[in-house]
Symmetry: C2
Subunit: 338 residues, 2 copies
């Protein structure tokens, strides 16, 4: 790697093509209709290609005062969910000439490092998952265009929000299980302080309350297979009649519940119906395949990016929750006849 050869600049290209630097900028910026003749433009392009010229992004960003780069703040990437959100957001961004930089907030619970210190790139806007709440304080400081994913519309200080219709998903789960005949429910709740999980608990409770004769208990667990297994084991061995349906806040919790059920000698779905939420790859890896609510993470990311583009242009993004739908597989069945 020759340190003697520094990267060519637009001035080098200009010299090679025998024109001024401004001409190079005009040609390469595709803004030369009637400013530069075609032969000259051709010479410039050839010289640029010859030298392997790449514009200096730092200089361009400085000049233009914007970077066409957006930050996506997500909780730790322990599932593919946010990877898919990224994919969707990046696709839409690319269509508009933007790049997306990913900032997974650190796994630990401590206060997040400053996302902007990590993403050394200057930024034009931010999309933040409400689950990365610990990183929020740093974001608030900058008055960048901001879109929140799955955040309490009232609690996000007027920032635009894009939400999955989780409430409807839970409603579909409840409906499905009630129709099968279940009446004793256990809610395996994610032990994460986030609005999107509160919605699950609230919606399940209100839906079940509308049907007489139902019973709802709740167990809390961190979002991990081991945590879910322990919490479920404890809940299943609690006194009183055993629940027949286990509603989990997400698929990972359901996977832990499977192990607890197996250890307790319960068969799924014959003795216990289980549902998840997310429809990760995990859902079809376990046996029986999990009845769960499919969240279209890519679409979620697309909507988030579109909303941010709107905000950056000073518009108000159109609201409207993203629909979700129940996928019935083998983990739910009518309750055992007592």
């Amino acid at each position: 790697m020759a340190r003697g050869s520094t990267r060519p600049t637009s001035r080098d290209v200009a010299q090679a093509a025998g024109v001024s630097q401004a001409a190079v900028s005009l040609v390469l910026g595709e803004k030369w209709r009637g400013r530069v003749s075609e032969p000259t433009a051709q010479r410039v392009r050839e010289a640029a290609h010859e030298l392997g010229y790449r514009p200096n992004l730092a200089a361009r960003n400085l000049r233009l005062g914007r970077t066409r780069t957006v930050l996506l703040v997500v909780p730790a990437l322990t599932t593919e969910f946010f990877a898919e959100v990224y994919t969707g957001a990046a696709r839409i961004a690319a269509e508009h000439g933007f790049g997306v930089v990913l900032y997974p907030s650190p796994e630990g619970v401590g206060p997040a490092r400053d996302p902007f210190a990590s993403a050394q790139a200057a930024l034009d806007g931010v999309i933040a998952s409400s689950m990365a709440a610990d990183a929020l304080s740093a974001i608030r400081g900058d008055q960048l265009p901001l879109v929140m994913l799955d955040s309490d519309p009232d609690g996000s200080l007027g920032a635009a929000t894009v939400n999955l219709d989780i409430a409807d998903g839970i409603r579909q789960v409840a409906e499905h299980l009630l129709t099968l005949g279940h009446r004793r429910f256990l809610h395996l709740a994610a032990d994460v302080p986030s609005w999107t999980f509160e919605v699950r608990a609230h919606e399940l409770a209100t839906r079940l309350a509308a049907t007489p004769g139902t019973e709802l208990r709740t167990a809390r667990a961190p979002i991990s297979i081991e945590g879910a297994q322990k919490a479920t084991e404890a809940a299943l061995t609690a006194p009183g009649p055993r629940p027949t349906a286990l509603v989990c806040d997400d698929d990972k919790l359901a996977a832990g519940a499977y192990k607890a059920a197996r250890r307790a000698g319960l068969r799924i779905p014959d003795d216990l119906s289980v549902t998840g939420l997310d429809d990760l790859g995990l859902a079809t890896a376990i046996d029986p395949e999990l009845t769960t609510v499919r969240l279209d993470a890519e679409l979620f990311g697309e909507h988030g990016m579109r909303a941010l583009l709107a905000v950056m242009e000073g518009l108000t993004p159109d609201a409207g929750d993203i629909p979700v739908n129940l996928v019935v597989r083998g983990s739910t069945a009518p309750p055992p006849q007592h």
Copy 2:
């Protein structure tokens, strides 16, 4: 925020503190030992905090000619493996004042978009997984410091490489299964043209060839649960004596194999032993828990970043593969007595 919507610059801070812009730069750059008095420095810091000053990264990058930002090119983030690689790399990077930008190459097989178009940030270096090979051509163009992950040392054009000792992992798997008494093997190979997968096949073949009376067949599948399931079903119903041990190129393939085995009425591990490679969360979600080779993805990322730091300083990173180790769980047992 009082006046216009423009962000405060170091000049604004200077004016507020009653000093020159240069003084601000000196104080905030922590390079003022004996250049600025403590009281003045204090005034500057207060003014900066008061105004909510944040240095313009684009300007700084332009001035310094470097960005302290590094690109991590990975295949699609469909498992948590590369998320952990990122975590490790980002930790080491942060310790050295660097940021890491993630570039997941698009899922499709088509030619990758230019990573540098996506990561609008200018870059000081690149860490690239060899599994994102389609993005490589674009990288070659720039003569940036480059470190390859899991790449053929001979085939990477002299770029530094950091490798997991996959060969040793496969050796441990073979040893384990041979010790249990297995002789008829099926290798479920990832249908991905990558050196790191070739190593698996080669090492397994040579190790088994060293033991007389062994038999090795191979099935190929894309890295997905469904793909693995189909390939395994086909292989298990092939004529001839059924294999008793199934060595999978990674955990996801093993999960698919589980389903195929179940559908074929085979119990794991009694009728069929199965091994994986990666030790993803998936490995302990399925039943029985998977005997697999644990790859320390975070450590992998750390080594990659350390190597890149060395390359960027003009040094030659110390080679040496990263050790891996077999984790024996419930999916392997002695072969069925015929």
